[in-house]
């Protein structure tokens, strides 16, 4: 194996020849191959060959690769920076030292890249990077940190996220903390959220999605009417999110009772132009409420409806009702129906 041949190959006229030379250097897997590959990156005109160079660098198992590639995090060239992030991530825990060395880099962009790499490595060695990032002076680093600790369910950062949520004024930072709390928060986090937003009306529109989700995840049983308030304030706009959150709420609180006026609004929503999946889901949700009895009556009456989707939805809702004689009602209906999908839906008795 003549490494010099490969190195000279990096300057060949033909793109394929340069690509093959880079690939061969990668397979050589020796320290001496690293510098020529890195140096070629800054002058190589072909995007394809640059990609091949990174594949080659990844193949070389020598600390020199980590050291040299880490310097690319500071490059002015976006391609090099982003490829470097990817490569270091794939090197895993071995990359920890070069990352930790840059944990307090002067440039916030570099600190963010270090965090991005760490987020792709699941290893205890990179944990200090999350600690540092959660307290970083730069808002963008903090936002990214919150996103990552939330996604990765690092619950030890719950209090830090709550503190940021309560104090932040920068909208993106508030949202980042919000999103993180949805993943790592608990009942006390809900207290923080309510502290910042005592009523649904003052939640900024762009935060509503998270707020509604939080209501579903953490809301107390007696807060069911807040959903009502939300639908009144924003109607159709939030319907999808509210329906999802109600389903989540029911999983936690079981058969909750709603007011007649809330039921009236939901009944109107069932007749509104919603996406099919949302509508079916809403039918299931209304069947899961404890009261009023009018819900059950309404759903049962809908089985006579001409519209197929409405019928199917009503059946889904009826199956969730807590009412004696439901099985008999469905059986009776089954004998009158001919549509196979409807008879199948009526026949699924296991859920009763």
């Amino acid at each position: 194996m003549n490494i010099q041949t490969f190195i000279s190959g990096l300057t060949a006229e033909d793109e394929t020849d340069r690509s093959n030379a880079a690939e061969d250097l990668g397979y050589a897997d020796i320290k001496e191959a690293v510098a020529p590959l890195i140096e070629r990156l800054s002058i190589e005109p072909s995007r394809k060959v640059r990609e091949t160079i990174f594949l080659a660098l990844e193949r070389i198992n020598h600390p020199e690769v980590l050291a040299r590639v880490a310097t690319l995090l500071e490059s002015d060239d976006a391609f090099l920076r982003n490829q470097a992030v990817g490569l270091l991530q794939r090197k895993g825990a071995a990359a920890a030292p070069v990352l930790l060395a840059r944990i307090h880099a002067a440039d916030a962009d570099v600190r963010k890249f270090v965090l991005d790499v760490a987020a792709g490595i699941s290893s205890l060695e990179v944990e200090p990077i999350f600690e540092a990032a959660m307290q970083d002076q730069d808002t963008n680093v903090q936002i990214a940190a919150l996103e990552y600790v939330g996604e990765q369910r690092k619950i030890r950062f719950k209090s830090a996220a709550e503190t940021i949520f309560l104090k932040a004024t920068e909208p993106m930072l508030v949202c980042a903390a919000f999103a993180a709390l949805l993943q790592i928060g608990d009942a006390s986090s809900w207290q923080c959220i309510r502290q910042r937003y005592p009523t649904a009306a003052i939640v900024p529109n762009w935060e509503l999605g998270w707020w509604i989700r939080a209501l579903g995840e953490f809301g107390r049983a007696d807060e069911i009417e807040v959903f009502h308030e939300l639908l009144q304030l924003h109607n159709g706009k939030v319907a999808g999110d509210v329906i999802d959150a109600l389903e989540c709420f029911q999983v936690r609180h079981g058969r909750v009772e709603i007011t007649d006026t809330f039921w009236t609004l939901l009944r109107e929503l069932l007749q509104a132009p919603l996406a099919t999946e949302d509508k079916l889901q809403l039918f299931r949700v209304v069947g899961g409420f404890g009261a009023p009895a009018a819900i059950g009556d309404y759903l049962i009456a809908l089985m006579e409806n001409d519209d197929r989707m409405t019928k199917l939805g009503a059946i889904e809702g009826i199956k969730r009702l807590d009412r004696p004689g439901i099985r008999a009602i469905l059986e009776k209906r089954r004998s009158l129906e001919t549509d196979p999908e409807i008879t199948e839906a009526l026949g699924e008795g296991e859920s009763l």
Binding site: F79, N82, F113, D116, P171, M172, C175, A179, W206
Partner: protein
């Protein structure tokens, strides 16, 4: 109703910008990197594009360069939304073909104002 393409590798950022854009009365589609953004832009027509710069695979500059090669996107406004704040970064952005450069963290008012300015009043 103008349709907006939002490209960012952070799902939080995509969600944040989507909420803002939808609340302002637009519809939107999101993509997680430049290549996915390019595919979406090539499949359907957007009236405005918001793009990040630092993404795995194809970065924002490359996305802008390539999408500008599509005659359908010769004049479509493209707003870069990036953490990078240096003048050099901004120059690169405009050099690649961006219409506007916003530095993160962004907030609703600024984004909507920029979009409306670039799209022109209805």
């Amino acid at each position: 109703m103008p349709k907006i393409l939002i490209i960012d590798d952070s799902s939080l950022t995509r969600e944040f910008h989507s909420h803002i854009v939808k609340d302002a009365g637009f519809t939107c589609v999101t993509a997680a990197d430049g290549m996915e953004g390019l595919e979406k832009a090539t499949t359907e027509k957007f009236q405005l594009i918001l793009t990040d710069i630092n993404m795995q695979g194809m970065d924002g500059y490359e996305f802008i360069r390539r999408v500008r090669q599509n005659p359908d996107y010769d004049e479509v406004p493209i707003i870069i939304v990036s953490t990078e704040a240096k003048d050099l970064d901004k120059q690169k952005g405009f050099g690649a073909g961006a219409s506007l450069y916003l530095v993160k963290p962004t907030e609703a008012g600024r984004i909507v104002e920029s979009m409306k300015m670039l799209l022109g009043s209805p």
